[in-house]
């Protein structure tokens, strides 16, 4: 395949499409942005799902679809990492596995939102439990995301070429993103406060940072494709 291929560009743009779909799924449709308060009583959680059933069910379709549409984008990133590493490419393999792992959980998050909203006559406690599972599936990917960001950052920074395939600031940006996702690890410990799954530090900061990461990756990759970086030595 030619290095300036349209396919590479399309894959990169898929990231933007997938991100948008996911956002639309979560926010206007499923109304899960910001996430439900983990301290809400069980009856209120269940009523929320009953009241917004259609939105949540459609949102679930978008979230599950978006999770898959991210994969061409990730493949584009992996193509770059492979180019950087060359024949011996452990970090590229690590990246592919970790990211696949992280986005499958997003698929399941969409699935559990769907199941939680599917039958309105389910007992409150059951709906609340399904909701808990969905939110953890949605937020805990901070864990693989952190590792993924470190791997990507290290891979980009290890590029020894005079003109790196991907710019060095992108490597540092990945490391910074990873660090900022760390508070997401702690969500199981808290039901209120800044580190709960709807908190400033465990949700909002990672969400904003992830959005920034996405956009910067797409911009940097498109620039690299444009100057045909993949054809360089």
């Amino acid at each position: 395949m030619d290095t300036k291929s349209t396919t590479m560009k399309l894959c990169t743009y898929m990231g933007a499409l997938a991100g948008t779909l996911m956002f639309v799924g979560i926010w206007p449709l499923a109304r899960m942005f910001p996430p439900l308060d983990p301290a809400l009583p069980v009856a209120q959680v269940a009523d929320y799902y009953r009241a917004h059933q259609t939105g949540i069910l459609v949102g679930g379709i978008l979230i599950t679809s978006a999770s898959v549409l991210f994969f061409p984008f990730l493949a584009a990133v992996a193509t770059f990492l492979k180019k950087i590493e060359g024949a011996i490419s452990p970090l590229t393999w690590a990246f592919v596995m970790i990211f696949a792992y992280g986005f499958v959980t997003l698929f399941f998050a969409g699935l559990f939102f769907t199941v939680a909203a599917y039958r309105t006559d389910r007992p409150d406690a059951e709906i609340a439990m399904l909701s808990d599972i969905a939110f953890f599936l949605f937020v805990m990917p901070a864990v693989p995301a952190f590792v993924q960001n470190v791997v990507t950052g290290v891979a980009i920074l290890q590029d020894k070429r005079a003109r790196p395939i991907l710019p060095r600031w992108l490597g540092y940006m990945n490391l910074w993103t990873g660090l900022l996702l760390l508070p997401g690890f702690a969500v199981g410990l808290f039901k209120t406060g800044p580190f709960a799954w709807n908190g400033v530090l465990a949700f909002w900061v990672p969400a904003v940072v992830f959005g920034i990461w996405f956009n910067l990756m797409i911009v940097a990759m498109l620039a690299a494709i444009k100057r045909d970086a993949l054809a360089e030595a």
Binding site: W169, M173, W176, L179, L180, L182, A186, P194, V205
Partner: protein, 190 residues
């Protein structure tokens, strides 16, 4: 800074990409500090009472340890630039003092936990543990980077690759010190 550098507009310690990281970290910690200040305002009495449970002496000791390690770091960078053999011992002193910080912090956490002041005790404790822990992760990363830099000295005590690595490591280490200065004031003193 050489005259040439002054004319060309300044010297970037380490490399530019690193400062993307440092700048980002400063922005995020600013968010942390402000979030804390808002919570402090909302629950003033609780935060004041809980703050008094903290061991100010240990906090002071940690601040002095980091300040002194930053001094050694600055000296080490200057020494590398003029091929001074004292660079490596200075870097090792930096690492030792930084490790001291980690040890003190561990004792501090252990003492607090054994007195029943744990992560979820109240909203102040959440901030105390989480912010100091995230800072501690930075300290550990910094120590790792410094150890890596220390391994790059040759037998004559010089750094063959030039000063960029040690400058960059130093910049990150000073960031760690800087963030602690604010955390110490916010959590222990105010």
């Amino acid at each position: 800074m050489t005259t040439a550098e002054r004319r060309s507009g300044g010297h970037v310690p380490g490399e530019e990409g690193l400062w993307v990281f440092i700048g980002g970290d400063l922005v995020v910690f600013a968010v942390f500090f402000i979030t804390y200040a808002v919570a402090h305002r909302q629950e003033y009495a609780l935060f004041e009472a809980s703050r008094r449970l903290l061991d100010r002496q240990l906090g002071l000791l940690n601040t002095l340890l980091l300040l002194t390690s930053s001094l050694c770091m600055a000296q080490a960078v200057a020494a590398v630039r003029r091929d001074d053999r004292r660079a490596r011992p200075l870097l090792l002193a930096t690492i030792a003092l930084g490790s001291g910080f980690v040890v003190v912090k561990t004792f501090e956490y252990a003492a607090k936990i054994s007195h029943g002041f744990t992560l979820n005790t109240n909203s102040f404790s959440i901030y105390y543990y989480m912010f100091t822990a995230i800072h501690l992760v930075h300290v550990l990363i910094g120590l790792g980077v410094l150890c890596f830099a220390a391994s790059r000295f040759d037998k004559a005590g010089r750094m063959p690759g030039g000063a960029a690595l040690i400058e960059g490591s130093g910049a990150f280490w000073h960031l760690v010190d800087l963030l602690w200065i604010v955390l110490f004031a916010l959590l222990y003193l105010l």
